[in-house]
Symmetry: C2
Subunit: 454 residues, 2 copies
């Protein structure tokens, strides 16, 4: 591997220049006015895949944004890895909080600042460069590689599931490699092996048929906001547990090994609380913070609105009030089953003085990759080689729905080898990516091809 | 009284034409662009007071809109009544729901449609016409009359309190007559003798220092919306009573006579629920609907907001959430005292995982006029003579803060002799006023001068 790693090190500046070009495309998937930019950005990715040595590269049109596919299958008998990433980015609002223009990359203190730097252009580009380095130095890869790079991750990957289903054979693989997560800490090689799922609901309470004067009517008619608050309050008990019947039925207990792994991470509650500027943390009793974040299901109100919300006072009893309520799920909870239990319970605790409407807005399956898998082990060794430190294993509280989709349709485990940091402002102003992690990522990826091919 | 009443009857059409002119002024006190209209409208009122026979009429400038004053003190030894009303009106939004232009009065089915028709131009103009009729027929009034007509009622009567304080002697009187409330039912003469007060608060909960991803952080950090909901839920017990310590300490018990009066009104819960399209009513246990509305204090959320409230799903834990919470107060509760108890209690039930800010947005004193007062008795007899039916006595759930102010500064009881109907869309599109009640109002007012002078 020595010459490949040396080649990667010596080409660092070129890689950074190329990444800058990639980051200049304003590939905001949610904005119609950027549709042309999305196409141009997809073409750029396809071009780079070709340049890196892929033998077949194709841009697939979808009803939304195009999907870029690439493959090199010149290692018969060797494993096939499918590399997933996305070239679309989040909107840039609030633009006034950016210190530099979001699509005009700037380097400062070894970090590159631009929308998409860490999520996911910088991380995804790592694998294109490692493939290229391999070809340039060795003339071939030690295993088979496929790329699937989508343009709708930030808007829910609407067309990716159908595409995977339709192209099962094309995408056939032994494992999926994804770099769209974070390191546990800067410089610490990290494999994420579990993700929470999601059941996202909306609850609307309707009381009187119109807004009422709170003087003339207050006290004799149910107030939808008060009722909604009472319903929300009933969803947790005093120990912070969710009260929905059967909610915890399918939750897998934490293994001893995992418990030990989490402890070894030396997570500091104090530091966490300080960063968020809260006096104390809270959550389900008898679990540590990492357990609450990674292996326990939760229920959070994501939004609430009703009545008069302007400045000053208006004495109104609103006709309706509504809340968005989502539950993070853990293996083996099922989003549809949980949504049903939620709906049933909400209806059962709603008083007769109002009517309630519960909507299932969307769901995502949780996922868990066994730590004993071949690909996950190879990834851990590879990162360790590149970073020079022991790889840690973590779970993640968020969801990457596509991981469960790959698992379900392609029957392939995913390896989440992330190089970002939670502090790199993904989805916020001044998004950035560490150029050290960019470099170590390319090395990790190259090591992975070698390790996984053994 | 016969000739006066006949004169009033025979001049009905003239009165309606004059009212139309009055209603054509777009005297919206809250809109700066209508400042000139406000001045013109005040001048119209002053002109009509002069025309009616007042010996002194003056327009007082304030830092806001002008106050119109009028007096005729030619009955020494007789009582003095101060007539209060307002010439300002609410905005007209949503304009598209009006069936005719709001400042272009239209008569349909014996109702006059225009902004301000019932609140309060039509009701206030009644007394100008009764005074005029008296002068035209008899040449003088049987008692002393003062008018105070303000232009800021719809925006909180900001400058009226100070004006009354400054002009205590000018406004000296034996009772205050106000027509700005409603009849219990169409055709039923009604005296309103009690009003609820108000303590209007805002509660803001602040959790983490920025909005967080509900996946990455959910379960380990307090969610301000959930906390706010739990706080609101704790403000009522299972019997619908407010849980704030000492909240009910100063509440006057309902007298037997009042209880009987309310029963005699034959209020229909069923009809009330049907009109509001709710399956069932609710409220404090062991009290009737009218008691809940008129003599019991309440607590209602008037607005709530936090997190993501757009269409669809966003998995965010909001940094902050806030609610407007107001309490309707009854005699002898004190808004300042209640605001303090509220603030103390909210702070005591807020968990350490968040911070809370409680603001006292504004307050109003409740008021109660003894049914045994000379003016109130005269008013009841007068309305009975005009309407030909027995006068009923009711309270009102809403607040008219100025009533408590008159009581406090002038030491004069108020008589609320309203001629509107709750169904006349005050503050809403298609506001209107019954022309029958307008006519019977002028007759009632004329009878009142006679009865009260005895």
């Amino acid at each position: 591997m020595e010459p490949i790693i040396e080649f990667i090190k010596s080409n660092h500046d070129t890689y950074v220049e190329e990444l800058k070009t990639f980051l200049r495309f304003p590939s905001i998937s949610t904005l119609q006015e950027n549709n042309e930019d999305m196409k141009n950005c997809a073409a750029f990715v396809a071009d780079k895949l070709k340049g890196a040595g892929m033998s077949r590269v194709e841009i697939f049109a979808t009803e939304g944004h195009p999907i870029v596919y690439g493959e090199w299958l010149g290692a018969p008998g060797k494993p096939t890895v499918l590399i997933y990433g996305h070239y679309d980015v989040q909107p840039v609002d609030p633009i006034e909080l950016w210190n530099s223009r979001p699509f005009d990359p700037v380097i400062k203190d070894d970090k590159i600042y631009a929308r998409g730097a860490t999520d996911d252009k910088g991380q995804m580009y790592i694998h294109i460069k490692s493939v290229e380095a391999y070809f340039k130095v060795k003339g071939s890869l030690p295993l088979n590689v496929k790329f699937i790079i989508e343009g709708e991750e930030e808007i829910g990957s609407e067309h990716l599931g159908g595409f995977i289903q339709q192209h099962k054979d094309l995408l056939k693989c032994d494992s999926v490699l994804i770099s769209d997560t974070s390191l546990y800490e800067a410089g610490i090689p990290t494999i994420t092996y579990g993700l929470r799922g999601l059941a996202y609901m909306e609850v609307e309470i309707v009381g009187p048929n119109k807004d009422l004067h709170s003087g003339s009517f207050g006290g004799a008619v149910a107030n939808p906001i008060n009722v909604l608050a009472e319903i929300i309050a009933k969803l947790h008990d005093k120990k912070g547990r969710v009260t929905i019947p059967n909610f915890y039925d399918d939750v897998l207990p934490l293994t001893k090994e995992e418990k030990q792994n989490f402890k070894a991470l030396n997570f500091s509650d104090k530091k966490f609380a300080k960063e968020l500027e809260v006096k104390e943390l809270t959550g389900e009793a008898n679990f540590s913070t990492l357990e609450r974040l990674w292996v326990r299901p939760t229920l959070d109100c994501n939004g609430i609105i009703g009545g008069f919300t302007g400045k000053g006072a208006k004495t109104v009893i609103a006709s309706r009030a509504s809340a968005k309520i989502s539950m993070r799920l853990v293996p083996n909870q099922d989003p549809k089953k949980i949504a049903k239990s939620f709906t049933k319970y909400i209806k059962s605790i709603t008083p007769n003085s109002v009517t309630v409407k519960v909507s299932d807005l969307h769901g995502a399956h949780p996922s868990l990759s066994p730590l004993t898998g071949k690909a996950i082990k190879a990834a851990a060794v590879s990162m360790q080689k590149a970073f020079g430190k022991k790889t840690v294993f973590m779970r993640e509280g968020g969801s990457i729905p596509i991981v469960a989709t790959f698992q379900r349709i392609l029957k392939a485990p995913s390896v989440l080898m992330g190089f970002g940091l939670n502090s790199e402002n993904l989805h916020s102003p001044n998004e950035h990516f560490s150029l050290t992690h960019f470099q170590l990522g390319i090395q990790s990826s190259a090591h992975f091809f070698e390790e996984y091919s053994k």
